[in-house]
């Protein structure tokens, strides 16, 4: 059963088109993330689904009901804004109780529910205080409390963790994963942080300049992004994209780039790509590059380490390969020798071949 269905939604602000014929759906009990850089249109999309913006065309349906023309309060959705928006003249308790008061629940019922939520979010101690006395984390939790207390069909969160310290973000991420068990309907979560999105979601959509680039599971999107935009958004560091060309040889078709040349078996199925574009590129995930100090069968290509970033649990090497630069991720105990000459090896995946002009991966 589809929880949320967005169909062909267009939203313009003056001459600027924020959303271009957007179509996506969220299933029951699904944790769905929307990932994209700032100004991709993520907030506009959430506000349109919530009813704070009226789309110029297209429809929004919730559990089969067309809500495109309905006021926000009739849609049974919750939206947690990026800048939190707690009511400053109400206490923590009153903020969380707000939706219940508006719905007309009894005082007793409200009291029980607010306390239950506050316990769950570990903020019972701020219930009697005002938002201006809360810490960043407490503000976040009270705002989350207000969003989930009303048992809406869809909980939407707009970059809820982006303003928090890195440390708190990691802890809160885990709490969100636990939170979905409390949410009966589904969660639509917007972020610019791909790790957050991959960690939390069942499925995710990549939004760029108002258009959806790709929808799929975190695994699908991380492994096989559909185009350059998506590839550059995922991975720390993101996938390397290297210009290559295909040349014939006695051993079979070869993939050659600046500083390397690989025979690719899968390319024998060239029948699958009848018209290979002339300008080709190869996507090379940073973790798929093997790096050794000495030349070996697995590492036949010569490179030079220009910089090393030691992150503790892994190291990122910036390596000059031929005329270009690639980044490789290695385990921390490898290559403590630092800068200087090294040997690289990798096995390209034919599904990572890209048309350099259009930026689309060939499939």
């Amino acid at each position: 059963m589809k929880l949320l269905s967005v169909d062909g939604v267009v939203k313009r602000f003056g001459s600027l088109t924020a959303l271009h014929e957007l179509t996506l759906e969220v299933r029951e009990n699904e944790f769905f993330c929307i990932v994209g850089p700032s100004n991709a249109g993520k907030s506009t999309l959430l506000k349109t689904i919530a009813g704070l913006h009226r789309p110029d065309s297209g429809t929004v349906s919730i559990r089969g009901r067309d809500v495109t023309r309905l006021a926000p309060k009739q849609r049974r959705v919750s939206l947690l804004f990026q800048n939190i928006a707690l009511f400053p003249n109400l206490t923590g308790f009153e903020n969380i109780a707000f939706p219940l008061v508006a719905a007309g629940l009894s005082k007793e019922e409200i009291r029980i529910r607010v306390h239950r939520i506050a316990e769950m979010l570990a903020v019972p101690h701020v219930l009697l205080r005002y938002p201006r006395t809360f810490s960043g984390g407490e503000q976040q939790r009270v705002a989350i409390g207000r969003s989930i207390v009303g048992e809406s069909d869809l909980l939407m969160l707009d970059e809820p963790l982006s303003n928090l310290d890195a440390r708190i973000r990691i802890a809160m991420r885990l709490e969100f994963k636990m939170l979905r068990k409390e949410m009966a309907g589904g969660i639509l979560y917007v972020t610019h942080d791909h790790i957050e999105a991959m960690s939390l979601s069942d499925r995710l959509a990549v939004l760029h300049q108002g258009q959806i680039q790709q929808i799929g599971t975190p695994e699908e999107i991380y492994r096989y992004p559909i185009n350059r935009v998506v590839a550059r958004l995922f991975g720390a560091p993101p996938m390397n994209i290297i210009p290559v060309r295909i040349s014939g040889s006695p051993d079979g078709p070869q993939l050659a780039g600046d500083g390397f040349c690989v025979t690719v078996n899968e390319l024998n199925a060239l029948g699958a790509f009848p018209n290979l574009p002339t300008a080709l590129a190869l996507g090379l995930p940073a973790e798929s590059i093997t790096v050794t100090a000495a030349r070996s069968r697995e590492t036949p290509f010569h490179g030079e380490v220009l910089r090393v970033e030691h992150l503790g649990n892994k190291s990122i090497l910036e390596i000059r390969l031929g005329g270009g630069i690639v980044k490789a991720v290695v385990a921390p105990d490898q290559l403590t020798s630092g800068l200087g000459p090294v040997w690289l090896g990798f096995i390209p995946d034919a599904r990572h071949l890209m048309d350099r002009d259009s930026g689309q991966f060939l499939r």
Partner: protein
């Protein structure tokens, strides 16, 4: 100019607000050409420290030396420090050229000299082709370079950066951090970088100074701090995914000892005193396997976090969960796996003092 190359020295600097110390007896030195990160959570005192070095606030006690000259009573403009603020603050209505030359113009430097210095800096930063572009038409990378150029052109002894990237997208941050480090190294500029993001600090710095509650907890190169944290706070703060803290009991047994936790019993370790500790062990030092191995114990997977190139499992460990780094698709929720603790790089935390104690293993001596 200093001969020994100590560009910045803080000596017993203290600053309190309303009775509470924001910066508590801080002493720190910064050397020529070094990139030092001042790292800590919000409210740890790092921004106050930067304010004092810049001259926006004055310390209640202690001295600040820039280029070996005491600057406590010297106003900001004469201290020889450059500052880059959050969001870079490039002047939107001025061109790149005007932005770069701003400080020089303010100081009354003659036009010819200004032009040559501006063009030289633009060349070093790859900005020559956009010298005429307006500040508000630049992309993030260009903006960072202009903000840096504007500060560095004044030849400051020390460049201060106050969390310039904290409002930026994750993707943009990755790109800018490499560039910033590259520029800093190429130009040999001494930099003090304030941040709350430990990954950023680890990636960019020559040394990291970790602060919490106004106090300096540890200073050292990133790997040293990662591998040998001196306090529980530092161990927990550095490293993503964060370190595991597992209650354990050490029992001395003649010339050796054993370590016991909720699910691992009597692991052999070297000569240590009997005591209750917290075992501090990083997620990639807990080895997971599907079949039993020496000293392994079973554990059920509760949560799987997808980090892309690896997965992090949260598995049951007595009454708590521990984080374990595994390759992608190693296990799913509710699977049972075997865990082995690699104590080589682990530490013990004394629960009463939070001090770190090196774990003596049979293969490793203190």
């Amino acid at each position: 100019m200093s001969a020994s190359g100590v560009k910045l020295e803080l000596r017993n600097v203290t600053k309190s607000f309303g009775g509470l110390p924001a910066v508590d007896n801080l002493s720190l030195s910064l050397y020529q050409g070094e990139f030092l990160s001042l790292l800590g959570p919000s409210g740890c005192g790092k921004s106050t420290t930067l304010s004092m070095i810049a001259g926006f606030e004055s310390p209640d006690s202690g001295e600040i030396f820039v280029d070996e000259r005491c600057v406590n009573d010297i106003p900001t403009r004469s201290r020889g420090v450059g500052i880059v603020f959050q969001d870079y603050a490039v002047f939107g209505r001025l061109s790149v050229r005007e932005n770069l030359g701003f400080g020089l113009a303010a100081k009354g430097v003659p036009k010819a000299e200004r032009t040559s210095a501006t063009e030289d800096m633009a060349h070093k930063l790859g900005l020559t082709s956009i010298l005429a572009t307006r500040g508000d038409k630049l992309n993030m990378s260009e903006m960072q370079r202009v903000a840096l150029g504007r500060a560095i052109i004044m030849k400051p002894a020390l460049l201060l950066l106050d969390e310039p990237m904290s409002n930026l997208d994750a993707e943009v941050r990755l790109e800018l951090r490499s560039e910033l480090r590259q520029i800093q190294t190429d130009l040999g500029q001494t930099v003090l970088y304030v941040t709350h993001d430990q990954v950023e600090a680890m990636a960019m710095s020559d040394r990291i100074a970790v602060m919490n509650r106004g106090q300096l907890l540890q200073v050292g190169p990133p790997l040293d701090i990662f591998l040998e944290p001196k306090s529980k706070f530092v161990a927990e703060f550095i490293g993503d995914p964060p370190i595991n803290l597992i209650p354990c009991t050490v029992r001395k047994n003649g010339a050796k000892a054993t370590l016991t936790t909720a699910i691992h019993d009597c692991l052999p370790i070297g000569n240590m005193v009997s005591h209750e500790y917290l075992l501090a062990i990083r997620p990639h030092n807990i080895k997971a396997s599907h079949s039993p191995a020496p000293h392994s114990s079973p554990s059920r997977v509760r949560v799987v976090e997808n980090y892309g190139s690896e997965h992090v499992l949260h598995t049951e460990y007595g009454t708590q969960s521990v984080r374990v780094s595994v390759p992608p698709h190693f296990a799913a929720v509710d699977d049972e796996i075997q865990l082995v603790l690699d104590l080589q790089h682990a530490f013990l935390v004394d629960p009463s003092s939070d001090a770190m104690i090196a774990l003596v293993t049979p293969d490793r001596t203190v």
